[in-house]
Subunit: 760 residues, 2 copies
């Protein structure tokens, strides 16, 4: 139990949401949970297959374009569709296509197998003409061979011999989903791929598509075979799609085996050759064997990543669901990351935001550092573009990472809640620092880490300045997108401070560790002691004010002087505010879309006193709408931090089942990946109080009332550690690695193989 | 002398600029100074005829659209082109079209007659085949019959009998000018008019065009006649244009008389009937007689408006040039205003901005109040739309006038330097107050004035709030477009204060003057004493800080804390900054595009001490680029105010000949109307120090070193007053009306018919 996510609904609304919930992915390939047989509501379904980071370039138009506004943006493309497998039952006039709206559904269950890594739909169906059949659709994208999308369909006759026709399609006529009315979804330029090759090769259907503008190609090779005797096949190669048709008589259980392999030109110049190789490699493996590989892979994943909760099945289910989808969406090739919707949908055009660094890297760094490293390397792969962008923005040096991007250039068309969020560069630095603190991975620091820390630090020297002895940063937007273009956003300043401090520190550490390498690197990035000293000074003098009266950190220089939003007179249907009020009106008030100062207190807690952190939490909670899905989890964690465990649990619940219960109403556009990472953080960072600092691992373990105990693993500096927390005790088990000291409620504890701390 | 603007250049660059400089207009109709014979460089010439406020609706697209962004905007349309009159000289193979690039130009002069109100081009031309002819093109748009555009061409043979063919076109195939690379010029949707009717009616060519989207129509009726004997005519009605051809032998002086009448459906439902009526009315009048009417009209205009300057002809020329073009561009029908480029071009899409209220109404109010009143009524005509816009922006009541518009809805596609400039509503209120103070026009106040003052005042109560006892206004942009979305912009606050104060005051004054009317109006605008009291309180408590150290008014809450722009390291070719830096980068620094606080000190000077005004001038001068053409004139006026007369004169020179010398490089897109008004202000408000206050007219007369004396007229409360200022004396002559008291250097003086004050 709790290793399965199940649905029995065939309601249209549920099916649309399940397109996201039941998507299958492996970090490279993502296939939405569309139906093999199709859905009647063509305008509502979002039929999608995505390759992580595979994009076209589309123009951005502006009513009034200003200097430095990007002319184009990248868009994640919906690629070749292999999902279609129609099952026609009967012959002649009594022939009928199986679908959820034809005939009668006698039983129906859909399952996501979290341990085995595949999805399954099992339908007992009676056609209008009385034929009964049990159909089981299984599908997976392989974690072992990233190219593979595997559909395995079983047909069992209930009413004797049934004539069957299977029509399996590989469709190159694909477009992206558009919606004129929602700014969070794309509204034009739907078709961006054209057929370059379409052909039948031996027993394979092959399509290659080229993008309109980005000069990229993708291809898919697909074969469909049926295990029945006396099958007759035919194939039709159209202009944009290929169909393979199989007809046979269903007398006993029959399997339809459809294997589709995907590749793109960013990974392999010779698309076809690669696809044939992979196909041949897997030729001899049965579906069960492929599932077996998948299980092995996941066994290792769960060993490091699983979180168990005793006392609440619905939360247990949600937590595993979220963890699984993070794995499915995380790029592993160092040129892709985790888009806002992962590989589950096209919302936000498949762009990568700060979500990865602040909401998803914490779990991956602490449970699967090898995956985390790939995501960090993605940022390194676009460092040159970030340096170019800084120049374009008028800065002399440094790196300004784009607010949203795929291939590295700025894709934001509304800069006040886009480019102005300069904090993303500090967020990336933060994720590098956290990774370094958790892994001691010096090879990574030499390869990429120090360069990224230095180039981002340089940005702050460029845009900041000294005023009355303090280092100020003006005209930026913090995480809260309801307050834009401000001076001295606390979050930005404190994160920039950390960035500056660590840029200098990492350089000094490297110098001590490997002076030869340091001298080489020094040349490469043209850094000298004077500049390092400037980093240090700016960090030390960073302006981080505390309001004297309220004893909180002001979100920015003028936030506290603004009028508070009139929440009492704002009807519920006017949320999220951004869809009902002009940005200027929103900016005029004390109202936050999401955690901002409160998030700063989570990420860099030692800059403030307990009292300021607590007061700030209460103050900002009053004015925060949580219109962003990145908010509740942070407030939950900080509620736990200040001992408000009930409140923490309320927030945690909002976060944990956000997608499973579609509480934001737009899960059909894709899963809220950042929030999924936030759920893990809610437990480990929130309830267990984990922080990764220079001094090591810190905990402040607590247990929500509704739970008996919870457990999780962490990786820390080449150790695997298991934690079990109950109301009474904090049990730590060093699964492997050397003993170490950790801090529990600020008390230093040496951790041996089995270690239990009594919690009073 | 100095009543003519002349050019002898036939260089392409000059001809393009002269399309604007030599445009003819009458407030309703504007025809650019294009050449009858055409210009070879079709992609550079902007061939245009405009009807004030005649627009189509075009879509605005956004990369990322937010709530409340306008979906469409209006655009001033280039309407039916009547300018073309080709003159073909010779016959058969020896035939040649007259143009400035064919044959030989033996002499050339182009003249704008400021007293007579027409333009003239006189060319002595020899064809490639040796025929010589003197051609004179005269053209005017009538101030008496606004529908009339009159071209009068004289041909004089020099080399004996010359076969001539005249091809006169009325062209309905018209588009607007587009430029992809300049945000100040439109970039798409060029063609917005289609032919509804095209026909030959008796001796007239008639075309009616309909707009694509705004449901408006315009029509032109045109006839061309030639005074020669034995003329043979032919006419061709095409799909979108009509040509009339006349052939004759040129043996003596011949006149080509082309009269084109324009009308649009906003003024007259039956377009054709109106055009025929006007045409018939003028039938019997010769060109000389029409010019005679024009002269009479202008005599009256100049009597009230002329400014004379002894000692500087080039300035005298420029001043009259500017005054004349203001008259040519000012709408007189209460549904149109003065667009940024007047009727001289299409720059800024023909939109009306605050330019009219702050830069052009001062001169019109003080010299031609009947014209001023029409412009004020235009704002009243769009009051309901301004109230709707306020609601759309989330305010419960009040009027938010659009930053740029034609028919009343917001047309700004970049709100930080658009909609956020809430000050426009206070600017409009200011122009109403100034008009009232200068005219005592109670009928106007009852009809429109009080309602506009109250509705604009309500806006400030909506967006402002009390903080620590002071009334704050957050999240607005002041006049300076290099500093956007700030709190407590000094300009906005002080103008809002005036707005609030006068909304209450005007109501109380009306109550005293006409209680019956007041009670009716009270009902209509649903106002009560409590709200008036709120106006008063907000005005009294308006936050208008002075920086303790600098003793200046901070431009906004955080301006003075920002870093100063690095002017020393900014090359000249990086100005204007907006074309070379991202807005966010510009916003981050202390750098102003234009007068902001300094303008506030001009418009509302009694809120601050002399010292603060003077310090502020010096402070902001250091950080202002004058990248806007609305800036130099204000700095010049305020330099005079603080006694820096040399500096004032430098600024005045920049302003006075800005278009004549094309110093901003874009005069070809149209004249800088606001700056033209600013030139008059430079003299009357700057050097003479005129202010219109509740206490009456104030002067601080000074004379620039380069001048011997200067004179001007003002109208004030039904008086016409003449002023003559020399180094030694300030001579005031009450031309008509009752004696009154004025203030000269803060000393009260009773003005009789001839009054001279010795200036020490």
């Amino acid at each position: 139990m709790s290793w399965k996510i199940q649905s029995h609904s065939t309601e249209l609304e549920d099916l649309l949401i399940e397109e996201s919930l039941f998507f299958t992915g492996n970090g490279y390939l993502g296939v939405r949970g569309n139906l093999e047989e199709g859905l009647d509501e063509l305008d509502k379904t979002i039929r999608g297959t995505y390759i992580n980071g595979f994009y076209d370039i589309v123009p951005i138009t502006y009513g009034e374009k200003q200097f430095g506004f990007p002319d184009t943006q990248q868009r994640l493309l919906n690629v070749i569709d292999a999902q279609s497998v129609e099952i026609w039952v009967g012959v002649g006039n009594e022939k009928e296509k199986f679908s959820l709206t034809n005939g009668t559904i006698l039983s129906y269950v859909r399952t996501l197998h979290l341990e085995a890594g595949y999805t399954e739909r099992k339908i007992h169906w009676r056609s209008s003409f009385g034929s009964e059949v049990i159909i089981t659709f299984k599908r997976l994208t392989s974690f072992i061979r990233k190219e593979l999308f595997y559909q395995f369909i079983t047909l069992e006759p209930v009413t004797g011999d049934i004539p069957i026709k299977i029509i399996s399609t590989l469709n190159g006529n694909v477009t992206n989903f558009t919606d004129q009315n929602d700014p969070r979804v794309s509204s034009g330029n739907a078709k961006r791929l054209q057929v370059e090759k379409i052909e039948r090769l031996d027993n394979n259907n092959y399509i290659q598509l080229n993008t309109f503008a980005s000069n990229l190609s993708t291809a898919a090779l697909s074969t469909t075979s049926v295990s029945a005797e006396d099958v007759s096949y035919s194939h039709y190669v159209g202009k944009e799609s290929i169909t393979s048709t199989a007809t046979f008589k269903l007398t006993k259980k029959v399997h339809v085996d459809k294997r589709t392999f995907y590749i793109d030109s960013r990974h392999e110049p010779n698309l076809l050759a690669r696809l044939l190789t992979v196909k041949n490699e897997l030729e001899s493996l049965s579906f069960e064997e492929i599932v077996g590989q998948q299980k092995d892979y996941l066994q290792s994943f769960w060993k490091h990543t699983d979180v168990t909760i005793s006392g609440n099945d619905s939360i247990q289910e949600a937590v595993r669901f979220n963890l699984f989808h993070i794995l499915q969406s995380a790029g592993t090739d160092s040129i892709s990351s985790i888009s806002a919707k992962g590989l589950s949908g096209e919302g936000y055009e498949g762009h990568y935001f700060w979500d990865t660094e602040i909401y998803l890297l914490p779990i991956l760094t602490m449970t699967n550092p090898h995956l985390a490293k790939q995501l960090l390397l993605y940022r390194y792969s676009i460092l040159e573009k970030a340096k170019n962008r800084a120049k374009e923005m008028g800065h002399n040096r440094g790196a300004l990472f784009p607010w949203r991007t795929i291939s590295g250039t700025e894709c934001s068309a509304y800069y006040p809640a886009g480019t102005a969020q300069y904090h993303i560069s500090a967020d990336i630095a933060h994720s590098y620092i956290q990774y370094f603190l958790a892994t001691d991975d010096w090879e990574f620091m030499k390869l990429a880490g120090i360069e990224v820390l230095v180039e981002t630090a340089r940005l702050w020297l460029e845009i900041g300045h000294f005023y009355k002895g303090a280092f100020h940063i003006d005209a930026v937007t913090g995480p809260d997108e309801y307050t834009c273009i401000v001076n001295n956003n606390y979050y930005t300043n404190v994160m920039a401070k950390q960035n500056l401090y660590w840029a200098k520190k990492a350089c000094y550490l490297l110098q001590q560790k490997d002076e030869i390498y340091w001298n080489k690197l020094k040349q490469k990035i043209a850094i000298n002691d004077k500049e390092l000293q400037q980093f240090q000074e700016a960090a030390e003098c960073m302006y981080l004010p505390v309001d004297d009266t309220l004893q909180i950190n002001p979100q920015d220089d003028t936030f506290l002087q603004k009028q508070k939003w009139d929440f009492a007179n704002t009807p519920k249907n006017r949320y999220p505010l951004l869809l009902h009020y002009h940005p200027l009106t929103i900016y005029r008030y004390q109202v936050c879309k999401q955690a901002d100062t409160v998030l700063a207190h989570l990420l860099v807690e030692d800059e403030q006193t307990e009292k300021v952190i607590e007061n700030s939490y209460h103050y900002y909670e009053q004015v925060t709408t949580h219109d962003s899905s990145l908010s509740s989890c942070v407030f939950g964690i900080m509620a736990a931090r200040i001992g408000r465990l009930d409140r923490a649990y309320d927030y945690f619940l909002q976060s944990a089942r956000l997608d499973l219960d579609n509480t934001h109403g737009n899960t059909k556009d894709g899963l809220h990946m950042a929030n999924m990472g936030g759920t893990w953080m809610g437990i480990v960072v929130g309830f267990a109080g984990m922080r990764v600092k220079e001094t090591g691992l810190h905990f402040r373990p607590q247990v929500p009332k509704a739970w008996e105990e919870y457990t999780f693993h962490l990786q820390f500096k080449n150790r695997l550690i298991h934690f079990q927390i109950t109301e009474e005790s904090f049990n730590i088990n060093l699964v492997n690695g050397e003993p170490l000291s950790i801090y529990v409620w600020d008390k230093k504890v040496k951790v041996q193989y089995e270690h239990s701390i009594v919690l009073v």
